[in-house]
Homo-oligomer: 387 residues x 2
């Protein structure tokens, strides 16, 4: 197929898949000619992946690697002890998950109440994994306010709707908006009566409140607020989604309940190895350098995007940006197709995200070199279609 | 500590931990002098581990390995397609789990009824992971009958107790008893009215019904019995417990229910890679050789055990044997301690297993060389204490 035929085929696939966009897997299956040079859907720090892979490769042929694969991994409690040393939270307050998604699922199934408040647009698993008997009250973030959350207004909404459960993704996905630690404290203080508050900090390693990019640390709040669960993914900050590693920080009784009722051996040997590695001082120091380097690259990436005419770049403190296409002629899917077919750059169509009004794509910050390629491609696209 | 002091310390730990034995982790922590030469608690085919490790080591430094660790693994449905090709069952009937334990947990939480029949002694997770609202009717296997199950009697028990759910582990752990395919069919035919029947085939690769050691294959029964869930672990037959890979075969609606309600991304990149490897014809052929070699070694191991005076070796078609100590002077814990401290051989104390009456240990068949070491040690032990 030539590029034009590929684009037509992609539009055909799109119309077959309804309001959703076809998945990358479907597209690559149907159109093997497609080549992805830069995957700017993928939300991870590639420098951190390099760091971990280098360590892991050195294990080849060792007894340690064999042990990781052959033997039963430690039980949940024992892996929690490793996490405990890293984040300085009592291990009895830590539930280690097979990816953050398992922590989300187990929290939604075991602790979420009947009426759940959820700001949108956001990460879809929170509404997809609710129990059938639960209701979700969607709190629409205001476009006029650039989809930034007004915490006071969200608190009032939660109270007015009589929610027993509230969720906050911080930074939020796909908007990138970040709620400061002070606002989080106010939020928790105002909602002590709720059964459950989930704060999802999957992207918090990319956020910062000062010029040193010091990591925002809210973990110890769980001691003060027994209704709070903080959820943390390792896939984004460490770029190791294939390993499936994440954790939840919560009151001890909830950890006990989860582990005793089925999540005792849910962590793989590789996940256990990752947390051992993460616990090493030398690894932490190197990681901290890579984290800051990546934040700097991302800031410069967003600056460059901001200079491009024809798109609106929403403010972000995550490792991606939400971009609105300022044209009535071009859909988000058009932009995804153009960049994919002509430039080999894959960006995230946000057409399936509920709560967005307009044509939106989400673009991840990748390595410095890849970001240069992305910027040039979007410049070209904007010149051609949006000016 | 000298050997005598170590033994005393172990007895002290035992008395501290009540009816359970201290875990190996606890023992090694408290007594760093302990050295395990042969781990005969661990129920896996070591030849299969060799086979997989050899392939995996060759990945070091490759882009493929990086992809496994860095990217999100395929969704549950896509990994199920790989399993489907291997076991020749429609992928829509396959739910891939983060270890068989996740399949057990999800089945017990989502599909088990209010009154569950469970033969004992057996694998403890089936009673530990039941929902708090479920009741378990324990079906005591008869010691006079060597803990072999009488299927007709079990069926009558299930009906008499008005159970809506029945569980059968085949081969059973720790007894090693095996129920033939014909009896399984009779069992299923007699219990069509039940909501759920779980058959756990974690150890079935070590069982056989003919001299060729042909694999017993009951999977296609799920098409005929919509209440049936067959559960399969990969940890034992392939010796890769650290990877966490298993699956359940069940009716399509149940797979859909599990996947849509939270188990969409529950499989790691490494688990996906394992199933890809398992799908390769060459790997399957080599594995089949190693499976039969291991069964032969196990048969000869059990034969040798049978010659030892002072112990009763229960008939097995799994990769382990249940052994009863024929002495009023020696407890199972005594035997574990002696073998561990004096010979470096770690065997499983069965004192915590409900449903066993007497002093029992479970010993795994390991590699041929290790089995020779185990046999000699048990001979020495029996000569010293049991004759």
């Amino acid at each position: 197929m030539n590029p034009k035929e590929i684009k037509n085929k992609l539009r055909e696939l799109k119309s077959e898949s309804g309001s959703h966009s076809p998945s990358i897997g479907t597209m690559l299956n149907e159109i093997p000619e497609l080549k992805i040079k830069v995957d700017a859907c993928f939300l991870s720090n590639p420098y951190a992946t390099d760091l971990f892979i280098e360590k892991f490769n050195a294990l080849a042929g060792s007894k340690e690697l064999r042990d990781i694969l052959e033997y039963y991994p430690p039980q949940n409690y024992d892996v929690a002890k490793k996490v405990s040393k890293i984040i300085k939270i009592d291990s009895e307050n830590i539930f280690v998950g097979n990816g953050a998604i398992e922590v989300i699922q187990s929290a939604m199934h075991n602790f979420a109440g009947k009426n759940i408040a959820l700001p949108i647009p956001t990460f879809s698993s929170y509404y997809e994994f609710k129990r059938p008997t639960s209701n979700i009250e969607y709190y629409q973030l205001d476009k006029i306010n650039n989809y930034q959350i007004n915490i006071e207004d969200y608190i009032n909404f939660i109270k007015a709707k009589k929610c027993d459960t509230a969720i906050l993704i911080n930074p939020n996905n796909p908007t990138g908006e970040f709620v400061s630690t002070n606002s989080i404290k106010h939020f928790l203080n105002s909602l002590k009566d709720l059964d459950l508050i989930i704060i999802d900090e999957s992207f918090i390693h990319f956020a910062y409140e000062d010029d040193d990019f010091k990591l925002a640390q809210n973990e110890s709040l769980i001691y003060q607020y027994p209704n709070l669960i903080i959820i943390k993914s390792m896939s984004k900050d460490f770029g190791i989604a294939g390993i499936r590693a994440g954790y939840g920080i919560m009151n001890k009784e909830r950890v006990k309940q989860l582990v005793s009722n089925g999540y005792l051996w849910n962590v793989s040997g590789l996940c256990d190895y990752f947390f051992s590695t993460y616990g090493e001082t030398e690894f932490q120091e190197k990681y901290e350098q890579e984290r800051k380097r990546y934040i700097l690259d991302t800031i410069s990436f967003v600056d460059d995007l901001n200079k491009i005419v024809g798109i609106k770049v929403y403010q972000t403190k995550a490792n991606f940006v939400l971009i609105e296409i300022l044209s009535n002629q071009i859909s988000s899917f058009d932009m995804v197709v153009e960049l994919l077919v002509d430039k080999g750059i894959y960006i995230r169509d946000c057409a399936d995200k509920i709560g967005l009004n307009g044509e939106f794509v989400r673009i991840a910050s990748r390595s410095k070199d890849e970001n240069i390629i992305i910027i040039q491609a979007i410049k070209d696209f904007a010149n051609q279609h949006l000016s």
